[in-house]
Structures are given as structure tokens and as C-alpha cells.
């Protein structure tokens, strides 16, 4: 707060100067602590990561540090495990974002209507997002997917018994479909996120246009196709991009449900593993830089979108 005290100067001056202060530093002062903090805590580590990614640095072989140029990158791309983790990250992210977006859109359309107990349903739908991610992953792994007494196989037994079946199928979900198991658990957690953003989008559209279209004889599908969907486009994009940013970084579900086994190791997990278990700092950093570059592409798109939303708010 001390940095802000020069602000008292122009404020005690005549009113005209209050609106157009001549001392930009005094106006910027309240912003500086936050800016400085973010640069130091978030930007410096990335710079360090880039530097380390060009080094030959393994904690188990001290004294052998040196620069290897693009050696670590060549290694990251030549090692099948790391290459496959890039692919896994893409499949995981695309799968979760796509499905949770479509289901979230359906849920948002349902919640946009008026019906009895709407607030209760909305609260129930938000709940999955408010379970701590690690707890949610544990819940799915043990209480739902477990082949012997998980809820999924329990329900199968039940349904089979209902029709007099003797031998219900009891799949071992995680072993038979490891990546799909993670994807489904994450869809469950992220659909509420998509629903909330899309619902906000639906509620911001003008009802007059919808009403006018209805008077003109448009049916529900036409209204959805030609009015609702175009209006929702930007919200769909925003939800997809923000969702991608979070899910590309997912660690908790992969770590908890499969420990990265059975071909489910995504890049964050691989980075964690190569530095935490193998102590290969150089290679972990190279993988980190690759994630960084991949995310920057998504991030630039997201930023452009947010800036158009912001400009609309200004005008």
C-alpha cells in the first residue's frame, strides 16, 4: 500500500486534474505489486525451464552438466513413450472437451426451460465439479469401476437379475478401456463447467427474437438451428478453449486412476515422472517446453476470443 501513497498528491489538487492525472506512475502504482508478483513467480520459472531444456542435466549424474543444444528435444521425439504421451494428451483432451461440450449443451438447453425444481436440478448438475478432483478420481476408480464390487458392475448384476439372467457381464473397466475410463470420469467432472458457461450464454440471448420467430411459425428445431446456435457460437468456443486449457494440464485423474499405466500417460504425467522418478531434468524441461508451445497455440485463440467479448462489453 505504501507505493500508492503518492496518489494522495493529485487527488487533493483541483477536480479537473482528478479526471486526467498527469502522473501516470501514481495511477499505475496499485497495479504494480500484482504485476511484479506474477512476473517473478510465473515467468521466471518458464525462462529457467527453457534454459534447462537445452542442458544435459541428470540429478543422478552430478558433475556432468553441459549444453546439448536440441539433444533433449530429439530424445523427447525419438522416445516412443514420450511420443505416445503427446498423442495421449491430444486424445484425452479432444475426447473430454468434445463429449462434455455436447452433453453440456444438452443439459444447458434443458435447464434453460422453466420446470418444477429447476434450481435443485442445477445444483445437482454442478455437484460433480465441486468434488475435489483427486477424490473424484478415487470415487470412479474404486467405487464405480471396481470389477468385483463397483457400482457399474453392481448395476449390471441387478439389471440381469431383473430379467432372470444368470451370468451378467462383469467387465474390468479400467484394464479393458484405460483411457476411456479416465475420459468418462473427466467428462463427468467437466460437463457442469460447460453447462454453466452455455447456460449463461443461453440466458443472455434476446427472447424477443425467439418470440418473433415463433410467431412467424418457426419450429423448435429451426429456432435452435438459426437463432440459438449462432448466438451460442462464441460461448461454445470459449467453453471449449477454457476446458482444453484445464484438461491439457490434467494430472490428478491420470495419476490416480491408472498411474499413467496402460498407455494413459499424458504429457504432464510424463514430465512429472521423468523428473520425479528418473531425475532427468533436461529431458523433463524439453517436454515442458513442448507442452508450453502446444498450449500457447490454444491460448492465443482463447485470448483473441476473450478480447472480442471484452470489446463488446465496452461498447
Amino acid at each position: 500500500m505504501d507505493k500508492a501513497s503518492p496518489d494522495a498528491g493529485p487527488l487533493s489538487a483541483p477536480a479537473r486534474r482528478v479526471r486526467r492525472p498527469r502522473r501516470p506512475w501514481a495511477r499505475r502504482a496499485p497495479l504494480l505489486p500484482a504485476l511484479l508478483f506474477m512476473v517473478v513467480v510465473t515467468q521466471l520459472p518458464f525462462v529457467a525451464t527453457v534454459v534447462i531444456s537445452f542442458m544435459d542435466w541428470n540429478a543422478l549424474r552430478p558433475g556432468e552438466q553441459g549444453f546439448t543444444g536440441f539433444g533433449n528435444y530429439a530424445q523427447v521425439f525419438s522416445e516412443p513413450a514420450l511420443r505416445s504421451s503427446v498423442l495421449t494428451t491430444v486424445r484425452l483432451t479432444v475426447g473430454v472437451v468434445l463429449f462434455s461440450l455436447v452433453i453440456g449443451l444438452g443439459a444447458a438447453l434443458l435447464l434453460d426451460r422453466r420446470f418444477r425444481g429447476r434450481r435443485v436440478v442445477r445444483t445437482m448438475l454442478i455437484a460433480p465439479f465441486l468434488v475435489v478432483p483427486v477424490a473424484a478420481a478415487l470415487l470412479w476408480k474404486h467405487a464405480l469401476y471396481n470389477p468385483e464390487y463397483g457400482l457399474l458392475n453392481g448395476l449390471l448384476t441387478w439389471i440381469w437379475a431383473l430379467f432372470g439372467g444368470q451370468h451378467p457381464p462383469q467387465p474390468d473397466w479400467i484394464t479393458q478401456a484405460p483411457l476411456a475410463s479416465i475420459v468418462v470420469a473427466l467428462i463427468w467432472q467437466w460437463t457442469p463447467f460447460m453447462t454453466l458457461i452455455l447456460l449463461a450464454g443461453l440466458q443472455s440471448r434476446s427472447l424477443e427474437a425467439v418470440e418473433a420467430a415463433r410467431v412467424d411459425g418457426a419450429d423448435a428445431w429451426q429456432i435452435f438451428r438459426y437463432l440459438t446456435l449462432p448466438h451460442l457460437r462464441r460461448y461454445l468456443e470459449l467453453a471449449a478453449l477454457l476446458g482444453s486449457i484445464y484438461i491439457v494440464q490434467n494430472f490428478d485423474a491420470v495419476f490416480t486412476i491408472t498411474s499413467g499405466g496402460l498407455g494413459t500417460a499424458n504429457l504432464p504425467y510424463t514430465i512429472y515422472q521423468s523428473f520425479y522418478q528418473a531425475h532427468d531434468y533436461g529431458q523433463a524441461s524439453a517436454a515442458g517446453v513442448i507442452v508450453l508451445l502446444g498450449t500457447i497455440v490454444i491460448a492465443v485463440l482463447a485470448l483473441r476470443l476473450v478480447s472480442t467479448l471484452l470489446r463488446q462489453e465496452q461498447s
Binding site: T42, I126, V132, F193, F251, P268, V306
Partner: protein, 293 residues
């Protein structure tokens, strides 16, 4: 949907339309309830299982009507194993509350500078904050670890509080800016003419007027800090272990006790569920960094 009919429409379509619309309306309501219940089912199952005995929890088909017991919770709180989750819960609370307080100290003046008195190039500053949120934290993990190791900050819960501050500050600045933009500029200018300094303006005017927004921001920052696990796993140890890390270690050391696992998941999730439901109406604004209201 059928209630907002205009007179023109009513005269054209009349009673038949209303009658035909009634049943689809009910159907849509039922579909919404079915969707809500489907998503809520795993949560219900988690809570129900946490109150069952281990024997009843591990049956196939599931025993829904089994007698309820607090056994799972008693086990989780360490009556048999001797490892109490309280230190981990206290650590998570310290990191989450400490970082949320720090976030507000940084974010409120920053948001004030960005909205009430927009500095030149204010949108550049906004997008810098946002861009830090979009870069993957895992890419900065190693340098943070090395610095912490060499400065003796490893296994220190306040290091986690500082890192969580960096994690949440962009969200908080964006949220607070959109809340502060709603304060009428005249009130602030009047205060400025009266000769109030920045601390006074913040304390007397900005904070009271933006109180609901500040509360929502705090709750969302609390949730994200409480949930974090990757950094906590690498940077905390025996003393500063957080609740999510405790949860993963708890399962591997205990073997598989379903009721206990569910009890643990319920206890660790409870603060987040409460904070989330309290912030429900502002949740979307926080999650979209203020881009959507």
C-alpha cells in the same frame, strides 16, 4: 416456454396450441431431472457408501438399504491406523486461506487501477494476467522445485500459499475488475475530491460496495487452492502434506476399504462443496475469468 405468449399468437393458435404444448413441457422437465440425477448419482453413491460398513460396501449387487454407520469416518480419522488426517486438512486450510488473503491484497488494488481509473494500456496488463493462467504450470515445476530445494523452502506450506496466489491472482484480477466496473464512477470521484487517499477509497468505498464480488472471488480462489495436487505432491512432504496428497497416500497405504475411501473423499470434498454452493451464482463468472456473466 409456453407462458410468454403474446396476444397475436394466442388469437392465431388459440387453445389447441397450449394443450399440445403441455405434455412436451413435462417431458422436458423430466429429461432435465433425469440428467441431473444421473450426474448426481456418483455423489450420492459416494456419500451412501461412506456411511456403510466395509462388508456392506463390498457387495455385488450393491446393498443400498444396508444399515448406516460412522465406521468409515472413524477409520479415516485414524482410530486404527494412528495417522490422523487433521494435519493435512489444517495444511490445506492454511494454504487455501493464506493464498486467498494474499490474492485479495494484490488483486483489489490492481483491479481498482484497471477498472476504476483505467491506466493506459490497461488491456495489455489484463491479457498478461490471463496469459499466465493459460500456460501449463507443469512446465514451470522443475525450476520452482530447484529453487525451493536450494533455499530450504521445500516441505513448507507457505511456499504452497505463495504458488497458489500466483495460480489464482489472474482469475481474481479479472473477476474483481468486472465487479468494480459496476461501481458508479461518480461515487469514487466524489471521494477523490474530498481528498481521500487510495487506502481510504479502497477501505471505505470499494471494498464495501464490491463485498459480494469479493466474497465470490475468495470462494473460487479457495476452491482452486484446496484442489491443487501436482505441485503439492512434488513440493510438500511430511510436515506440509495437503489433503489431496494425503488422500492418494492414504489409499495406497490402507489397501482397499471402500467405505473408508468414500468417507475420506467426502471429508476432503466437503469444504469445496460448501464453498461452491455458496458461490453458485457467481461460479460461471469466475470460471470464465469474468468473460461471461
Amino acid at each position: 416456454m409456453s407462458t410468454g405468449t403474446k396476444s397475436a399468437e394466442r388469437s392465431r393458435r388459440g387453445r389447441s396450441r397450449r394443450g399440445a404444448n403441455r405434455r412436451p413441457g413435462v417431458m422436458w422437465g423430466l429429461a432435465a431431472w433425469a440428467t441431473g440425477l444421473l450426474f448426481f448419482l456418483p455423489v450420492v453413491w459416494m456419500v451412501l457408501t461412506s456411511f456403510h460398513s466395509e462388508a456392506d460396501a463390498a457387495t455385488n449387487p450393491p446393498s443400498v438399504t444396508a444399515p448406516l454407520t460412522l465406521e468409515g469416518y472413524r477409520e479415516f480419522f485414524g482410530t486404527s491406523t494412528g495417522t490422523s488426517p487433521w494435519p493435512a486438512l489444517a495444511n490445506s486450510a492454511s494454504a487455501a486461506i493464506g493464498s486467498t488473503a494474499l490474492v485479495l491484497v494484490f488483486a483489489i488494488p490492481a483491479a481498482y487501477a484497471l477498472s476504476v481509473k483505467p491506466v493506459r494500456k490497461w488491456s495489455d496488463a489484463m491479457f498478461f494476467f490471463l496469459s499466465t493462467k493459460m500456460l501449463p504450470a507443469v512446465a514451470g515445476l522443475l525450476p520452482v522445485y530447484l529453487v525451493a530445494k536450494n533455499t530450504g523452502l521445500l516441505d513448507n506450506i507457505w511456499l504452497m500459499a505463495v504458488l497458489y496466489t500466483a495460480m489464482n491472482l489472474p482469475i481474481a484480477v479479472w473477476m474483481m475488475r468486472s465487479f468494480l466496473a459496476e461501481i458508479p464512477i461518480d461515487i469514487l470521484e466524489a471521494a477523490a475530491i474530498d481528498g481521500a487517499g487510495l487506502p481510504t477509497v479502497l477501505r471505505r468505498i470499494v471494498i464495501p460496495l464490491a463485498a459480494p464480488g469479493i466474497a465470490a472471488t475468495s470462494l473460487i480462489c479457495f476452491i482452486f487452492s484446496w484442489n491443487e495436487m501436482l505441485f503439492a505432491r512434488v513440493l510438500t512432504g511430511v510436515r506440509s502434506i495437503t489433503a489431496p496428497v494425503f488422500l492418494t497416500g492414504f489409499v495406497t497405504s490402507q489397501g482397499l476399504f471402500l467405505a473408508q475411501v468414500c468417507a475420506a473423499a467426502v471429508v476432503v470434498s466437503l469444504p469445496v462443496l460448501l464453498a461452491g454452493f455458496a458461490a453458485q451464482d457467481k461460479l460461471v463468472q469466475g470460471l470464465s475469468m469474468g468473460a461471461v456473466k
